[in-house]
């Protein structure tokens, strides 16, 4: 038997990564923790506040309302983007020129920066000069995203669907492409109808990529800031003030560093928790075979 050698120098090999992670994530996060347990005054005077800010935030209706809006937003966009993405993927040409064409066209929205997407829709929806807003107005439909809550919500949801459905569609398409022809041939021999082909062949084979798509879309939409901020600025009133918009208002608008820090940490934990629950449930479903 060979003696196991001890060589503590190996630690130096992981040091660069540790330093990188420390400066990019751990230390910034710790400053947030630092703010969240203290009251900050001018001249950098700090006073210990303990869990006071957390308690205050938890009893603050403002945060709960923002959370509620946020959950509603993520729920609605997932409910639209996932089925729509699958539908698009199922109807895309499977090969040839038009298949590549669809792929490129569908990737375009994914390449546009967030604030540009916001600006596009902000202008598109304007009643005075925007193509969409003007047309709706001309048709006699009461649409105004700066004054009407429903209009504002429809605008940011349609914008998100426009921006991100392609991602779900592309992932679903990749899942579909990996299904060997023999499966479809066997289904024809077994006289399975279109719905059964989808339910028993396509959906199970797409489950893996769909899981990733849903998780990505959930996390991203839960943290969304730029696009709705550019379009509605959180309004009218607080109607479209989602969690991150509210957080920025609190931290940078009002400069309430303590409560905002406590808010951030809870925000972070909620995303982590929901993603974990989601992932665990999906993986278990997958193991059991739906």
């Amino acid at each position: 038997m060979q003696q196991k050698t001890t060589n503590q120098k190996a630690w130096f090999l992981v040091l660069p990564v540790l330093i990188l992670v420390a400066f990019s994530a751990v230390i910034p996060l710790m400053t947030v923790v630092n703010y969240s347990v203290q009251d900050t005054f001018g001249n950098n005077q700090f006073f210990w506040a303990g869990l006071e800010w957390f308690q205050e935030m938890l009893s603050d209706e403002r945060m709960w309302n923002a959370l509620q809006r946020q959950l509603m937003f993520s729920g609605i966009i997932l409910a639209i983007e996932v089925p729509l993405g699958i539908f698009v993927a199922l109807n895309m040409p499977k090969s040839g020129f038009w298949s590549s064409f669809c792929l490129v066209v569908m990737s375009l929205p994914l390449l546009i920066p967030w604030n540009v997407v916001g600006t596009i829709w902000q202008i598109f929806g304007r009643v005075d000069i925007g193509l969409l807003g003007y047309t709706l107005e001309a048709l006699g439909i009461d649409y105004n995203y700066t004054q009407n809550t429903i209009s504002a919500w429809i605008t940011i949801i349609v914008m998100d669907v426009w921006h991100w459905t392609s991602l779900v569609a592309l992932l679903a398409f990749a899942g579909l492409k990996s299904i060997p022809d023999a499966y479809y041939q066997a289904a024809r021999i077994d006289q399975a109808n279109r719905w059964k082909v989808f339910r028993f062949i396509e959906l199970p084979k797409m489950m893996g990529v769909l899981m990733i798509a849903i998780l990505l879309r959930f996390m991203d939409s839960f943290m969304i800031y730029t696009e709705p901020f550019v379009v509605t600025g959180g309004g009218p009133g607080n109607a479209t003030t989602l969690l991150s918009i509210d957080l920025v208002k609190m931290a940078l608008g009002q400069f309430d560093l303590g409560p905002a820090a406590a808010f951030s940490l809870m925000y972070f934990l909620v995303i982590l928790l929901i993603s974990w629950v989601f992932y665990t449930v999906m993986v278990n479903l997958d193991k059991k075979g739906m």
């Binding site: 041939q185 066997a186 024809r188």
Partner: protein, 361 residues
């Protein structure tokens, strides 16, 4: 069950086929008799699977007709043809239990549940999976999955034909024998018309009543295993069937004698004038290593295959194989070879020539 007629059938994957080379399946006329077990044998890419997919309706032929019991089904969809097909790689519905997998084709045809349950039990017993019916199909091994595919193919009693597209490729060797035996038994018990595609000659010869040998998109011979062995219609059949394959030797044939490099070899029958490339074909089983008598050979290597020996030798600058029995002596001074005259076939341009007189009875 049905008799399947192929009438002038051909297929090209090219929408505008020009020359004959564009055809993956060259023109073919044949009747598949009701209730027979056929094997479709050939190397990869010779058109076996194309032919199978045309019969099952997964592919529309570019030319010709297919008839089931005299009824034209060329343009009928797969579902109407009532065919069962098993593919090379196991296709199972992962999210269903084994039971639901087997029941799937019956349920899709609206059979009532009591009949379905009874049939599934029967099939499960046949493929030896009775104790796994409640399990999800996902996570089973490749051979269990392929057994489910076979089962799904057999669960319908009224199918016109059962088609198998190299179904045992992914199965372990010891399971292969078992499944093949079960298939044979199934054929014996129920008398389905079966067409079994394979590139494995053992599989083809042990499974089928009749073997259809394909080469380069063409059916080169249809016959019983014995016919394929004794009278290969094409040098490819001779080469492809048998282990090692038939020796094909260039020769000149006059009457009942063949001349190889001027040396005489007796033939079992007389032949007329032959055009083109003339060769004689002798199976290694019908060649014998001797001393003194016959034509000169140079033995290169002797392989002991257990029940027989394979002798690899050089014969007028060309390789030749000879099979000797387990107890036949092979000595250094044995440097001649003789052929069993009755078993020598003559080929012109790769096709077997029917003798003019005195075919060995």
């Amino acid at each position: 069950m049905a008799r399947i007629t192929l009438d002038n059938l051909a297929h090209s994957y090219n929408p505008n086929p020009g020359s004959e080379a564009d055809f993956a399946l060259k023109e073919l006329n044949y009747d598949w008799e009701d209730g027979e077990a056929y094997a479709l044998l050939g190397s990869s890419g010779c058109g076996k699977s194309t032919l199978l997919n045309i019969i099952s309706g997964l592919l529309m032929p570019s030319q010709g007709r297919i008839l089931f019991d005299g009824k034209d089904v060329t343009h009928a969809p797969t579902a109407e043809r009532n065919i069962a097909q098993v593919f090379q790689f196991p296709v199972v519905y992962d999210t269903m239990t084994v039971h639901d997998n087997l029941a799937f084709p019956l349920r899709n045809r609206g059979r009532d549940e009591s009949y379905v349950a009874e049939r599934v039990q029967e099939i499960a017993r046949m493929i030896g999976m009775e104790d796994m019916l409640r399990k999800k199909a996902r996570g089973l091994g490749a051979d269990a999955k392929q057994k489910i595919s076979l089962g799904r193919g057999m669960v319908r009693k009224d199918v016109n034909a059962l088609l198998f597209d190299e179904p045992l490729t992914v199965i372990d060797p010891h399971m292969k024998w078992e499944l093949r035996t079960q298939l044979k038994k199934l054929h014996h018990d129920f008398g389905h018309t079966m067409i079994y595609v394979t590139h494995d000659q053992t599989e083809a010869l042990t499974f089928a009543d009749k073997v259809v040998v394909m080469y380069d998109g063409r059916v080169v011979q249809i016959g019983t295993p014995e016919e394929l062995f004794e009278r290969p219609a094409h040098t490819f059949v001779g080469y492809f069937i048998g282990s090692p394959g038939m020796n094909v030797i260039p020769a000149k044939v006059v009457g009942t004698t063949a001349y190889i490099n001027g040396s005489e070899v007796a033939l079992g029958a007389g032949y007329g004038a032959l055009d083109g490339k003339v060769e004689i074909g002798v199976r290694p089983e019908f060649a014998r290593l001797t001393e003194g008598e016959g034509l000169p050979v140079k033995v290169r290597r002797v392989e002991d295959a257990g029940r027989h020996k394979i002798i690899r030798a050089e014969f007028f600058g060309q390789d030749i194989n000879i099979i000797a029995g387990e107890d036949d002596p092979v000595r250094v001074d044995m440097n001649r070879v003789t052929f069993d005259a009755a078993k020598v076939n003559v080929y012109a341009n790769d096709w077997r020539v029917t003798p003019e007189s005195g075919e060995a009875a």
